[in-house]
Amino acid sequence: MASDHDHDHDNSLSETVLRVKALESLLVEKGLVDPAALDAMVDAYENKIGPRNGARVVARAWTDPAYKARLMADATAAIAELGYSGAQGEHMVVVENTPTVHNLVVCTLCSCYPWPVLGLPPVWYKSSAYRSRAVIDPRGVLRDFGITVPDEVAVRVRDSTAEIRYLVLPERPAGTESLGAEALEVLVTRDTMIGTAKVSAP
């Protein structure tokens, strides 16, 4: 907006939003985009596909050793057993956090992220600050997220440079031995499956 203009026109839309709206109207007017298809896409990623899917995978792996074995051997097939598949999850690999290994997922090139199990990536995941620092100073990044990883625990950063998408299987917290999959599922947050948080007992 012009800086020599000192009064408000009640126009709360940012330049980016205005540009997107202009592009959308043009594409719709020219018949290149179906607005109902856009609505269906927004609905899919707002209401159907998100980190609760991943949490279900994690809780099942914690409570069903045979499922966990299948998940570690062929994550794409094991995740599809629960009904989750498709765009940005065509080739899945699950990496397990243990008392001696902490995995952290990043995409230094752009914002690659396992959509079928986690939904769309959070803004910080796409920021150049996270993308550049996660590889050179993962322990510092983890401290910013509130996790101090002891020196003797190996930090493995997974840079998603190809079409393989990574899901972290976080450690099951102590004191949850009596809980079933449904009760465990609600403890598993999005960030625990990226590797920037640990699961806490209730």
Binding site: A37, G86, A87, Q88, E90, H91, E152, V155, D159, A162
Partner: protein, 118 residues
């Protein structure tokens, strides 16, 4: 007026199918798990998925993922040219120097053309 390539009824099927990049290939993998490799050092003007921070660095093959579409050619509409894709482990000290924790590592998924035997 053009016909929209994607209509509402096709959105969920398209999302659920996705676009797999693995391809059948009879090519024998050049590298095996545990083998030492060095990431090539090249600086193309076009698309590549080989990040600068590993170019010229020593790593170890962790596993292969079969043959996948090669983005360096596919992005330029020069064909899929599928080739073996590997997860390669680079020790944090190899990438960032002696101050890095000796236990730490960065794992990248790299195509065969990005790698030389070391």
């Amino acid at each position: 007026m053009a016909t929209p390539p994607l209509t509402a009824d096709k959105v969920m099927p398209a999302i659920l199918n996705g676009g797999p990049t693995q391809r059948e290939s009879a090519a024998k993998p050049r590298f095996a798990a545990g083998q030492a490799v060095r990431a090539r050092c090249f600086n193309p003007t076009g698309h590549t998925r080989l990040p600068r921070y590993v170019r010229g660095r020593l790593g170890t093959i962790e596993r292969d993922h079969g043959a996948h579409v090669f983005p360096d050619s596919n992005a330029k509409l020069q064909g899929e040219k599928p080739q073996l894709l590997y997860t390669v482990r680079f020790a944090a000290r190899e990438l960032w120097g002696e101050a890095a924790n000796p236990a730490d590592a960065v794992y990248l998924d790299l195509w065969e053309d990005y790698l030389d035997a070391a």
